[in-house]
Amino acid sequence: MSPDMIVNILAATVVAGTPLLIVALGELICERSGVLNLGQEGMMLIGAVAGFAGVYASGSLLVGVIAGMAAGVGMSLLFGFMAITLAANQYAAGLALTIFGTGLSAFVGTDFVGKTIDGFTKLPIPFLSDIPVLGPVLFNHDLLVYVSLGLFVAVYVFLRHSRGGLLLRAVGESPESANANGLPVLLIRYLAVSFGGAMAGLAGAYLSLAYTPLWTEGMTAGRGWIALALVVFATWRPVRVLLGAYLFGLASILHLVLQGFGWDISPELLAMLPYGVTVIVLVLLSANPTRTRLHTPLSIGQPWRPSR
């Protein structure tokens, strides 16, 4: 394998891992507030179709991205109303959201099947993209890849160093204690859920505007579910989410590479690879129970309402 080829594989890895990274970062924040939103897949699909529709109607990529994110937020607010305000079962509400999103996106999207748009194009960053290896791997992508890296840094710093992150972690550990300390538990959970929705919408828009600039039904192909698993196995830590997302990205392009080499392995088996590899590696990483518990939002999945 030539060095050029390795660089190409790594660059493709970053691209393939990006939608997963975006949606998983959103879900990480959401879960850290103690709310588990199983509706990621549905929000992504709605985001994808809304993004595509936005660009198709206006011709502007910015409008598409905003439309995708807004659609994601709208979906997440629907979920938030059920799971936070009405304190409904989070699992049921999330599953319902995914089923709803899958159906709605297919319905809305029928008109867009087979249509084309001008998607995001590569935007090499001057100077940085000239660095050997690192340049082409990280700095020769479309704009949304850079945005996803910025989001990663932002989430990391937010959780570790900001007061907002502290509030979020506190609410996720114990909403009762947080309430007793005078923190606005419901508001914080709503903000976290909306951020998750915005990110899922953005990830969906990335798929339909940059990754493959077209709309097909069910185009997220289970990435929302993988993101949910990713967040848990990454033990709610952003760095591990990043690594897991790229690992998934690598595994998902590897089967193309191996096929290119003419390896005689069943393509179905290879297509399974990313899911298997990602889960196994993350399970191994999350084996230390004490460290894991430090980062686990202990109240996750439990509806909470203030007593009055």
Binding site: L166, L167, E176, S177, N179, N181, G182, R308
Partner: protein, 513 residues
Amino acid sequence: MTAAARLRLEHIVKEYPGCRANDGIDLTVAPGEIHALLGENGAGKSTLMKVIYGVIQPDEGTLYWDGEKLTLQGPAHARQLGIGMVFQHFSLFETLTVAENIALGLPASEARDRKKLEQRIRDVSTHYGMALDPRRHVHSLSTGERQRVEIVRCLIQDSRLLILDEPTSVLTPQEVADLFRTLRQLASEGCSILFISHKLQEVRDLCHHATVLRNGKVTGECDPTETSTDAIARLMVGDETPLSTDVPPATPGAPLLEVSGLSYASDDPFGTALRDITMELRAGEIVGIAGVAGNGQDELLRALSGEYKAAANQVRFDGQAVGQMGPDARRRAGIAVVPEERLGRGAVPDMSLVDNTLLTASAQGMVSKGWVAYRKVREYAARVRDRFQVKSDGVEATARSLSGGNLQKFIIGREALQAPKLLVASHPTWGVDVGSAVAIHQVLVELRDKGAAVLLISEDLDELFELCTRMGALCGGRLSPLVPTESLSIEQLGQWMAGDFADAAGEVNHAVA
């Protein structure tokens, strides 16, 4: 004292479906006063506290703060005014550090500079004699240290009224003495303290004034230093309830349970490993294990119940090596267990009392060839209910619907009626009112007198000293010697609870969580 009252409550009423938790309560706390709020469980203390701290709104009545009428918007508002609260079940975040926990309660501007905040925490904690490291994670702190975090948090917010909800129930006697020193110092500096408790001796040691509640009403006010314990207790429980259990001397028989060299690393990452536990229980005695929760009590219970399997010979019961037996086999051998958590472990919350009976008493002829004889189960459950005066809405009521004391009576009765040879009971009267506690104690003593051995794991020292034939303490997963109760001083026990086993080569061992 009315004009300068720091806090005054007038006719507070709070009603919940089916119960009037506060029924016209008046209360006045002066600056620098340590004021006791006394009452049984369910008397309305917790509700009243939540009203004062703004967690719930009263249905009727008025609060006055420094003479001014006040409507609290919530805990944040209360704290801003200078009302600080130390919860019984701490409102701390285990995965955060001490400094982060305290920062959460402060306005953003004061919390931003972490270095400065850490210094302030150190200053305040040394000033009041409560050593505290701001950088440690709360889950690694002992219970006493966690309480200090709560207190320091209030002090940093310049609280002028500190509410403490049963603060001593989780402390060793030495820690209680330290806490009282701190509280007296605070009061002398002008801070008012509302001290909620049902331990009369402590109230008499510490407080200037006491208000007694029963069934949501004020039944009396007194100066605790000048009123006898019995007189205050009467105010708390009313006239009918007996105040103590009659415990005749025990006549221990042959050894029944032998535990030797039992070590067990806990499955819970924040649990405590048992280290080399050796003990012997005789038939016809109650053996007490004192200690602050989280020092291996839960693990000991698991090792005896069979939830954790040891080497066969590490646990011998009635001449049989039972270490490898599971819970069901041990139950059939005659070991009954009453765990600390009633809901979830002692009983399934959403199942009826009948179904809960079947869970541990199925060997009493209730199941034959895989079929359940529900008639027998119901009879047994009804027998438990009648014999132990369990107040419930019939035997088909769910376990969750019973009050803590009633459910506990049911669970203990369910085990006691199976005539076990050994009963292991963990915190059997925790959170239970005096009436039920006396009944539960009576059951334990009866079992003992019928020749059973009882292992009583408890944090309530009064209970242990009252009931036990022999006792010791668990600390950091190690067991002190078990000595006859009459030859044990409370100071000695306190040292053992803090891990200072003088006969273990003077090794001092602090609780590691």
